[in-house]
Symmetry: C2
Subunit: 379 residues, 2 copies
């Protein structure tokens, strides 16, 4: 481990822990959810609003930023946090996920991933070494090792080969790393196979990373498999380092995985759902386009204290959404990110007061009982 970040567990409740992650760009209370700002912008939301909602750590993507505006330019402009005007810390994903999500435009070999840019067809070679170098240019507080994100489904042999490749890439990334102020996290793969997950955890955690992540989950596998693999991966990670569950998930997923001992999360769900008219509320999920909200004067969530709920009725939000107004995306995104921020703050408090079990149970009941109002959409 380097001295790039410091992580301190301050309270435990079962496997769940509440802590403090100290970076060059400030402290992050954990467990924490990171809003996804792929291209150095969380869609529809300003950095000042993220800060006001309590977010101190935002995720950006090295692949996307390498293509535009380029790692070198972001470096010249002071790094990704300064570039986007965010006062807090940043984490960059390496681009391994894009090798899967943009599978049609790349090829993977022992050396790394060769992308054809989704923007202009130009060639971008992402090796374990260049992935680290680009992230060092981007200047994020936490960099992610280049991995091969094993797709789902993948048979055992395919998942094993992918996991072995990820381990070799992890070693090369560590060797290539030069920054002493940026942390580097290793990523555990292994698909949905317990033996491979355990083996991958053994390989990755044996290397001197500053933190560890479980990758390759929430990529289409059944929920029980996701939860089983996440639990298995967490249990195999050292207790002293921060644990990051990548790409997960729903409020229920976060609550379940905090209980496993994860400290960091990211997911496009609150922001992407918002742009599609979906809102998370204490009464379940709702889809604002539904005609039942046509004359509904209540806020999205009567128990929410966000600006959207203080300002706008469901009827107005529905009008904005069906009219295609940008303000609909803004208002719903802010509400959903506020919901996620509060969820994590409450989780931290519950762990500190050793009442996480009761907290999780109450929330799970609430979420289970609440009707999912996104199912029978009628515009």
């Amino acid at each position: 481990m380097s001295a790039a970040i410091r992580f301190e567990v301050r309270a435990r409740d079962g496997a769940a822990r509440a802590g403090m992650l100290v970076t060059a760009h400030g402290e992050i209370a954990t467990p924490a959810f990171m809003p996804v700002g792929t291209r150095a912008a969380v869609k529809a939301i300003s950095p000042g609003e993220l800060w006001a909602m309590g977010y101190r750590l935002v995720l950006a993507n090295a692949y996307h930023l390498a293509l535009r505006p380029g790692g070198k330019l972001v470096h010249e402009l002071g790094g990704v946090a300064r570039f986007m005007g965010f006062k807090g810390a940043t984490l960059t994903d390496s681009g391994g996920y894009q090798a899967m999500s943009l599978a049609k435009i790349n090829s993977i070999g022992e050396e790394g991933i060769v992308f054809r840019s989704h923007l202009d067809g130009s060639r971008l070679a992402l090796t374990p070494e260049t992935a680290v170098r680009i992230q060092e240019q981007l200047g994020a507080d936490i960099m992610m090792s280049l991995d091969e994100c094993t797709p789902y489904p993948a048979d055992h042999a395919r998942a094993k080969a992918s996991m072995e490749l990820t381990a070799r890439w992890a070693r090369r990334g560590l060797e290539a790393r030069q920054s002493t102020t940026q942390a580097l996290f290793g990523i555990i793969q292994g698909g949905v196979y317990s033996d491979l997950r355990r083996a991958s955890a053994g390989q990755i955690t044996a290397m001197p990373f500053d933190g560890f992540a479980a990758g390759g989950l929430s990529v289409g596998e059944p929920k029980p498999a996701m939860l089983e693999m996440a639990a298995l991966s967490a249990a195999a990670m050292p207790a002293a380092a921060p644990r990051y569950l990548m790409g997960v998930g729903t409020p229920a997923d976060l609550i379940a995985c905090v209980a496993m001992g994860y400290d960091l999360f990211d997911c496009v769900l609150p922001t992407r759902n918002a742009r599609n008219g979906g809102a998370f509320t204490s009464e379940g999920r709702l889809s604002i386009k539904h005609s039942r909200y046509l004359r509904d004067q209540r806020p999205l969530d009567p128990r929410c204290e966000c600006r959207t709920c203080a300002s706008f009725s469901r009827a107005y939000l529905r009008h904005l959404y069906v009219s295609g107004e940008i303000l609909a995306a803004r208002a719903l995104t802010e509400h959903n990110l506020f919901f996620y921020s509060r969820l994590m703050r409450n989780a931290q408090a519950a762990i500190a007061s050793r009442s996480y079990g009761a907290f999780a149970k109450a929330l799970a009941a609430e979420i289970l009982e609440a009707p999912d109002q996104t199912k029978d959409d009628v515009v």
Copy 2:
């Protein structure tokens, strides 16, 4: 005139005047620019942000709101200001402009305008009477009489017929009006013909409207014709009532037309330009997509105190714009509306201190000297 609004001229400098417009939803210092919130939303901006920038009067559109969500629904939900969560006052345009801008989907007769909805093809008949009734439902502080917005070009006979029809509709609208809390403004037409403008002004100002507007300008005619017709119309309006120049314009237009004695303005320019990457600055207009801003760390306007200029570099704004991020539209719209708000505040102060001539001259020089950096766009 009704008692729906009160208007007081507090200072004069030449024909220019600074005043206060008192409505049921608060006071508006004039001359004032109204942001355009066609569908009860100013694109990309929240009502709270409009308020924070000093806007106390916002424009919405009766035709668009009648189609969706409907005048009756907006009435049920407390009127357009309450519906959109705006603490200030509102003005609704009647839909006469849409008869021109959406000419392919409507037909005009003595009785009124019959629209085929641009949304679903359904029929909407807008007569002078229904235009007032819909606006009474919408509950705006200022309603606009239904007019036929004379297109450009139109020959003398066509412009004359249009102007006569507008006068007959104005009379019918006044007769149909029931609200005692909402003002009703009459609209002067007459195309680009001095004799028709004078005749129209004579017809419309002879009727007991609460305020008067010059319509049918900024519809494609040459700038000198616009300015001549605007001046002519203003001079023919009574001094005691508020004067509204519809759909105008650029910062230079506003400065010129305030000097003619106009009190109210609206235009899509600051908001639409923003969404297309255009910014108004004290150094002229710039187009943020230009490659010259690729590594430009300065704010949009070094002399601007808006949130966008306090937070974001041109390089970042360019990145947001070329990446298609919603935040680009937000940030540029806020900057442009801040620019317009400050421009009008400065105009008010200059009139109050009887230095409007010098103020206008300095601004005109600044605008003329500044290079228009929107011409040679290279992305």
